[in-house]
């Protein structure tokens, strides 16, 4: 499969104290480990098991995903903007890979 491509929609401007919504999506099959192939063999699990959102190096939101999360997982969440800085979003795969995305926000 092609490499997972993360997509994040985060505002790049906010007023101080404003609570902003961040939406993320990543392409990934999220193989649950519950399916069988045509020969009856269980298809091994391979999912993204953790999503982390941090701002200026500090984690503010985390999600542990189980195999029950749909393919091409979507995640939305919130952040209270108090200062300008950089978001970092990270997705951790069962195989150890990590996919990341960053975005900047100006507060004022």
């Amino acid at each position: 499969m092609a490499n997972p491509v993360p997509r994040v929609r985060a505002p790049n401007k906010a007023k101080a104290g404003e609570i902003v919504e961040i939406k993320s999506l990543i392409s990934h099959e999220m193989e649950s480990g519950q399916r069988r192939d045509s020969s009856g063999k269980v298809v091994p699990r391979k999912i993204i098991n953790k999503f982390t959102a941090s701002f200026n190096g500090k984690t503010f939101f985390e999600a542990d995903w189980q195999p029950a999360i749909s393919a091409n997982p979507y995640q939305s969440f919130f952040f209270k903007a108090t200062e300008s800085g950089e978001f970092k979003f990270a997705w951790k795969d069962d195989d150890g890979s990590e996919y990341t995305s960053t975005s900047k926000i100006v507060v004022g």
């Binding site: 609570i19 519950q34 985390e62 189980q66 195999p67 029950a68 995640q75 919130f78 209270k80």
Partner: protein, 151 residues
């Protein structure tokens, strides 16, 4: 003596096989008891209250592969009083766990949306733990017309 022992051995093995055959189909999925056990593992015998959690799931999901779920927990989200974690369980999926969130005061609002797979019609159970130690829970049923796991 030898034959007696092996006959006994055979009966024992056959007995285990028969029991396993009866249990096996049930083991294929979680049950409401599994979800209750998971919650007990997390919080022991602590008091679980109702309220504070707003759980948005469709009453009827036409496609069990992609069922939207939005959870919002009422909280001031200050350093002294915020939502620490939220766990979501599905009572009749192959595995009981769906997702676990960790929030911080910096998030400003304890709300998150995602999309989940549901193997069939079942209850979704949400448990939220506050930084103050209070625990809240709620549930909602989703009717699934086409299953989402392995189908």
């Amino acid at each position: 003596m030898q034959t007696q022992a092996s006959k006994r051995q055979f009966l024992r093995t056959a007995g285990i096989a028969a029991v396993a055959a009866i249990i096996a189909p049930r083991m294929a999925g979680a049950s409401p008891a599994d979800v209750a056990a998971e919650i007990k593992k997390l919080y022991g015998d602590k008091k679980i209250e109702s309220g504070r959690i707003k759980l948005d799931v469709p009453q009827i999901a036409e496609n069990g592969l992609v069922v939207p779920i939005n959870v919002e927990v009422e909280s001031p989200m200050t350093a002294a009083d915020y939502v620490r974690s939220v766990h979501v369980f599905a009572e009749k999926n192959p595995l009981p766990g769906v997702i676990s969130y960790k929030f911080t005061p910096e998030a400003g609002k304890a709300a998150a949306s995602t999309r989940m797979r549901l193997a069939g019609t079942q209850d979704i159970v949400v448990v939220a733990e506050m930084s103050t130690g209070q625990i809240f829970s709620t549930r909602a049923e989703v009717k699934v017309t086409i299953g989402g796991c392995g189908g």
